[in-house]
Symmetry: D2
Subunit: 310 residues, 4 copies
């Protein structure tokens, strides 16, 4: 496709989702998320040559929430390597987002790094002996470098609100600690965890930051080897099998691309060998993923034929 | 790669697995499987042009067992279309092969078509109002046509043994029936189910029969449209997320290809756009998939770089 | 209390439940139960000297359903003694009547003899090597002797209907068999199981038949030692902790007596040292026990102060 | 029995357990419990007239741990009455002591007041709006008055150690809070919870303090109505169905009396109409109850014939 065609693609997707805008429910557990406007929708597509095609509210920042798990996973693997898998599994959980059952059956070892329990463990491992602040700083530096945007920061107020509202995650963390699978004090880990979830980025910035996952770990905009090829592929594998809580199978079935959804309404999708896409719209479907964003990615799959399954 | 290279590839894999041959445990619940020789190993790779590269015991027949689920799913979707998803889900189960818990929580609707409970439901839907024999005949005709081998048949003695030993599957089927999710009498459905599991094929035959899944539903050897493109992709998506019981995530992580394992020691893997591979070796690892076969597919992934994630 | 007082007691209970008669839902899974009249209510109280006080429909037969478990347990313990506890536990299940989860977690050993799965195991043990008919005959002979009524028999039509409708119990039985915890073929065991559930008795007959449980195993009407004292006490203990599915705790809390409820609307309660009571009314509450019968037993507890807890 | 006979009874029990002394395992999660001497054994029996018969280490204090739940339940019922049952159930859990599964299935409402999760909820309700200190003071005043021992106090060091080691209970509390079933901040509730568990009493003191439960809520030593009769009976019912984690059914089966075990090795048993018994020995069996204490209570049941089931 030509440049014109790619712009037509994202514009076409914007037009495909018009009828759905405003649908879905914004999460109500903290004011900052509850006040999000469900009419917002943004999309950004970044290709190998760094060219970016955007439409809608692609330049409005939203918080990464669980999309951040992809990046802390990458950084933690860099630090602790395969030993990470002693602390967290890599199987789909088959459980809803707010389930603790599996964690009990598997004695405090979360099923995978892309559910809350697993992300908490990954964050703990990333902290290691350095303290929460060092881990958060490393993540911010990584995201700034990959997106090329120095201004990326944390919505500290949101981090604080989420932490205060976070009884369930606090329960998960203490549960994990009860099984001896936590290096650092629970509050230390949660302080990093909630800050990583509260990093604010735009569709455009986020798509750029994740681009290396489409090219075997190399950022094609800079030529930097961000991570080794096998680790990049495996991150994609985890996104495909585990990236959307208990609707991961459905996402693979409908969209056919590795992806990660977040409660803020963002969804990241990787098109291996081609590029990275981010959509954002705050209204969620009953599975807790962006309703309009999901429609947009199905439209993308249909319009382009992009799929890892052909 | 040239013809020579492909042959070198399968020969190389054969050599890679030498050190592992004989390892693993053969299942002991029926004599026919218990007597399998764990030293056997076969591999067959079929490419777009129909060329086939094989090594080891690639021409020795083994029974499809749960690999058959892929084909009955394809046939059932042809008959009942999307209505199938009212009866079976498409999410990974996150549960071991012999778990009934999820089935209770989800009121008799199995998680996906690639676990026993789901396959029983798919077989029931495939039978519809035609009787078990018609469904089994349709499956056999399909496999004969796709593989080009008229001699493919059912190991009837094994089917009978498995049925007699099948208390767990019988329990699943009655459980599903208790929730009203079964059209036909349980014994009728199981009679088809155990025969489909007892179809005997070689690595070479099976790889050919599944080739259409690598080419968006078109069999490149004949040009036949076997199934619509979206259905072919979605079958691959299901294999990737659900094809290996509770080690599906690990298979995606290590091998990076859609696949389906069976208790007979066979594993089918699809390389979208390239071809189909079947490995077979009867010794199983603790997860119930072929130990040597798994090593072979990791070797394939490493030697070729084939992966849907790049 | 005098004779007059006891008759006033049961009459008073009959009057207490008037406002509730007709409430509750009759089970609809088989016609015979679905056609029961929810306005019916009977009560019979049998004391140490054999005197019986009855009111309402105390002479109308109903089928024992799971109340029969008490008697097969007693007979099975006589045959296999403590070895029975290798096959079934004695803990409350904490699960609803139609749950199979615990059975999986505990590898085919049902939690206790007073849930369906446990009763199926007890029936299998009672059959032993004698065949289903011998076991059923022994049960009938026991109930006839204890109640002094030669006419007690099986509602064979109901047994057949229940068996045909019994997908869930069939699933349980095959599941148990899958774990090797079944001596006899599933259909043999179920044939005895459904006949024992279909024994028809009146409130008066049933209260007499169970009287030995109130007197340490001795039937005070005849002086016969029906079972050893420790076994009688332990049967009462099982009724108290496990006699009402997942509302056993509530029954102990409200009524304070060992008891067993059945889906036919009967409830047996034992007053240790005093006597046995049976109430019957077909309408069930949401927990699957007789709504009017429960009210009647709470009224009994309040009017008499009878409770094992003081 | 005469005074001499009762003394012979407890002496006889002491002699019955000799062969078992030292068996069992002391819990190792905090030093204070880990250092307990498994050779210790004490027993105290208090009768209606207040006479007390003791043997062994009946005057050595140990911490109440979960036996304290009985008393906070009684106090909380006094304050919030039946509204307590909106926050906690009264069914046996059928789960091991350290399971969180049921709590998820039942949306943060613990199964009963005699498991940790339930006791945390009861403590929260007892605190109400008064603060943790007031609740703890009320409990201490109650235990001092009932036992007639002004010196009863809290092992504050142990409370602190337990709180620090209490990741699992902290997880439970946050989990309950996540479902909105917690009035007070988690740390406030846990501060009261761990202090109530750390009240130190002797067998003799504890048996006296619980005596009212054997006499329909009236303390026969003082004539005080401690609680209404129905509440006393219901507390006994809860002990019988739920007092020993997932071996409550077995305790009812073997001992036949309402009771409550604790991880410190104490077991309280109520003999309705007769008296109260406390045994103590720190070595635990695999179910987490005192090994020697269990043997002692079985010996008591056998020697006296005391049982609520006859």
């Amino acid at each position: 496709m030509s440049e014109t065609d790619y712009q037509a693609l994202v514009d076409g997707i914007l037009s495909d989702v018009q009828a759905y805008r405003g649908q879905g429910t914004v999460p109500n557990y903290i004011p900052a998320l509850a006040q999000a406007d469900p009419n917002k929708f943004g999309i950004a597509l970044v290709l190998k040559d760094g060219s970016t095609y955007a439409a809608g509210d692609a330049d409005q920042p939203f918080t990464l929430q669980s999309i951040s798990y992809i990046f802390t996973l990458s950084l933690a693997l860099h630090h602790v390597k395969g030993a990470l898998w002693n602390h967290v599994g890599r199987e789909p959980s088959g459980s809803p987002v707010n389930s603790i059952v599996q964690l009990e059956l598997e004695k405090g070892k979360p099923r995978n790094p892309l559910i809350s329990a697993g992300a908490i463990v990954v964050t703990d491992q990333l902290i290691g002996t350095r303290g929460a602040d060092a881990a958060v700083e490393e993540l911010l530096a990584f995201l700034r470098e990959r997106s090329g945007e120095e201004g990326i920061g944390i919505d500290e107020g949101l981090a604080m609100s989420e932490s205060r509202a976070g009884a369930f995650n606090r329960s998960l963390a203490h549960f994990i600690a009860a099984f001896g699978n936590m290096l650092n004090p629970v509050e230390e880990v949660l302080s990093a965890y909630y800050r990583q979830c509260s990093v604010a980025m735009t569709c455009r910035q986020l798509a750029r930051a994740a681009l290396f996952l489409a090219f075997d770990g190399v950022d094609p905009r800079t030529g930097d080897t961000v991570t080794v090829a096998s680790r990049s592929r495996r991150t994609n594998a985890l996104m495909l099998t585990c990236g959307h809580y208990d609707v991961s199978g459905d996402f693979a079935f409908r969209v056919g691309l590795p992806g990660k959804s977040a409660v803020s309404g963002g969804i990241l999708a990787i098109v291996p060998g081609t590029g990275a896409v981010v959509v954002w719209s705050p209204g969620l479907n009953t599975a807790g993923t962006s309703l309009v964003g999901s429609v947009a990615l199905e439209s993308l799959a249909e319009r382009t034929g992009w799929s890892v399954f052909v």
